[in-house]
Amino acid sequence: MDHRFQINLRGVIDLLSHHLYSSPGVYVRELLQNATDAIRARQLLEPGHEGTVRVELIEKQDGGLPTLLFSDDGVGLTEEEIHRFLATIGESSKREALAEHRNDFIGQFGIGLLSCFMVCNELLVVTRSVKGDGRTMEWRGRHDGTYSVRPSEHPLERPGTQVFLLARQDTAELFTVERVRQLALHYGGLLPFPILLTAQESTARINTEGAPWRRKYESPSDRRAALLAYGREVFGSDFIDCIPLKSSAGDVEGVAFVLPFSPHYNAKQKHRVYLKNMLLSESAENLLPDWAFFVKCVVNANELRPTASRESFYENETLAKAREALGLALRRYLTELAKDDPRALQRLISLHGLSVKALALDDDEFYRLVIGWLPFETSLGMMTLVDYRRQSPTVRYVSSLDDFRQVARVAAAQSLCVVNAAYTYDTDLIEKLPRLFPDAQVEPFSAAELPQSFDELTLDEREAVFPLIKVAELALQPFQCDVEVKKFRPKEVPTLYSSDAEGAFRRDAERAREESDDLYGSMMDSVLTGAQGADRPLLTFNFLNPVVRKLAAVTDRNVMKLSVEMLYVQALLLGHRPLSAKEMALLNQGLLGLIAAHLDGGGEDSGQGGMH
């Protein structure tokens, strides 16, 4: 007797293929999952039952569409169970119900079968249960929603289940030996029992060896070579190292591969994860602590719960414990490198410094171990904080690139070592230092503080530069810039322009105001009013510089003013400070003014001489 599903089967298939499954090839996963579940269920009843999955591609002599036969020697289904899975299908039109049903054997069986309709129009299931009266039942279902259940005319000799799929014209390319082999290996490569593929009268086992990390190897170096080869096969990369992973929470085991390149900042590492030896996802993300972005891994978990979308694991206590255990394995690896193979650690830091720094921030013990190896950029070149503390008890650092550039050249000439802590995590790492090493001192430094370390003038020198200061203050008043005269090295530098971090941003806003239209220009005014900090920038003249000395002695106030303005503009440009329109005008007029002054002051001789 033919029955009809109580639901719109097309709707369910549509739901499955568009929302639950990423590709039609998934039907192989689902059938393997069903077979695996059935074999496990039988193993519970008959310990020692090994179990085998057979896949056979039956090609027609006349070139007609092939049939794929999936069979297992698992528990099989009774008639009552067949009706139960059909009922399950009836309830499966809701996603939530689908997710729920996946957790029980019968429900999963039904959902798994449904996925086959993505690739075929008709399914035949022949099954004999280990329970019950030993009858063989068959269920024939069609994509239009009709089906029949009856005792089979070809009884099975042993318990188990056979599923026949007749290819469809548009899915024939999924029914080739190569595709079936690939798909079965892809999803079931780690399964601990044989998957046999039969085609063109020959049979071969697809999954020869099980998980590579479970195999025995002659030596540790064989093991390493084999695992790296496996990593290359899975991810297509030549990894620089591999790290065994194991967690009793969640019963997780696998291997992490160290990336041979620095990962892009937002490239979350996608891990390949197996659930009970069946491929769950190739893009699981939430398996490792978030500092561990230097590895990609393959793991199998037996006791973690997948999310409804089956893309990652459900965030529960077991997962948190597993993540901690896997994190510990990675940390142990890094710790051992630091202790036993510092050169390898340095190589790793050069590629994965960010990961190492992130872990050092989270983990005090690791920080102590690794801080001696982390390089920092300073005004005196690259060095570690340990090197730094050998020459100076207090670690001075700036937290912005802008500050560092302002400081670097002049600081170096004063032998002042300042760390550029503008890189990710660096400021935090430095500020952590005194918490772990109580004798260490660290101090934020700003470009605005640099002039404080310069030498003061003598009383006579003060007198000598007094006019210059007065003229300079007046000249730079419109630019809201303060003036000082001190002595500093290198003496080739006539002036130093310094401002706090907000200063550079204020200048950006001022220039944006000049460039923009009324509406956004007015908003720049608001931004400037609302901005904080607002210490005025400072132009420090260097009295060691010969030009500055000469300038201080100039009597022509106009020439002095023009020169100050030019030095101001030059200091801005040297400090990569783009000029505002007003400053640009200063530059243009100033240059002309200086030329004119030079021509005038140089006397008629040179002026006229030029005419010849």
Binding site: A320, E431, S526
Partner: protein, 375 residues
Amino acid sequence: MTTQDWREQVEELLKRAARLRHGEAKVMALEEAARLADTHGDLDLAFEVRDDLIDAATFGGFPDKALVAFAWCRGQAKKNPERFESDLLLWKQKWVVGRLDDFPHISRKQIQEALDDIEQTYARVDAGKRSVLKLRYQTARDMGDEATAQQFWDQWISAPRDHLTDCLACDLDDEIDHHIDRGEYKKALEKAQPILEGRSSCAEIPHLTYGSLLYPLLKLERLEEARDYHLRGYPMISRNRDFLATVGEHLEFLALTDNLSRGLTLFEKHLGWAMDHASWRDRFSFHAAASFLLSRLVAEGRDTVSLQLPKAFALHQRQSTYAVRELHGWVETQAQEIAARFDTRNDTDRFQKLLERTRGLSRDVHPFPIDVPQG
């Protein structure tokens, strides 16, 4: 410096920026590159770099820098429409205008003009109606103009999508916020299903959604789920100051579930962001949540706590021991002062109401352990 030098430097900075995740370091590298290009008068390069800078600043938690870079680009595009394709800026204008109300020093008039301006700009390319309606709805909502917000909500939600519309995940997340505002928690959760099941996501979703659903889930007594979203959501946001307001939501949740120690850890870790964040609205969210957390500690009779707070913090203690009442007083004052500034600018009482909500939160406390080891 030779021509070659500075171009190489810019290139180096851009390369570095591309490798960095969203955050201060990335923004600084791009600002530096823009200044170099400006100094050497290379307008095209300066425009290109700022284009990246607007993205980095928007998604790295520096909305003021995004605004400044946008203002500059817009000026160039207006002056040289052929040279600088203003199409590039269309999408970014939305981000910038959407954050204007976060700055209390930007006036209501300026915000309105900016909204009218983006409407006209989009009308010229005959697109973006839906986006503008959402901006108007959200601005009115954030500024406490409920009648206007309702009016634009209705229009937004029925307007057709086009190429200037936010992605589906973002739109959905904003819809969810509307239901949460109205206390329609069940509806919010229903609508959130595609996000929660991982079918709909983008660079900021589900990060934001997990945070905003914590309170609704608590009210519905679905605490297991709330814990799950806290544990999953917090690591997504904990390294990017753009999510300061969401950090506030997690902080509030920890206080509501009586996980005060965990709450303090978040306070300790993120106070620095709240001290100098350009978005005063995000500062407010953080301080309000922190004041609730600290009020719980006061209620528990805790006098002092040990915390590593930033050196720049007004009450900074070398010994790292802080009087709970003093801390509470400080964050509460911050929240009140910011609320007053916003309410004055907006001429509404939205922020006062938000403060009242925070004060009433003690009624919702529902102890629930989060005790899961953190990875």
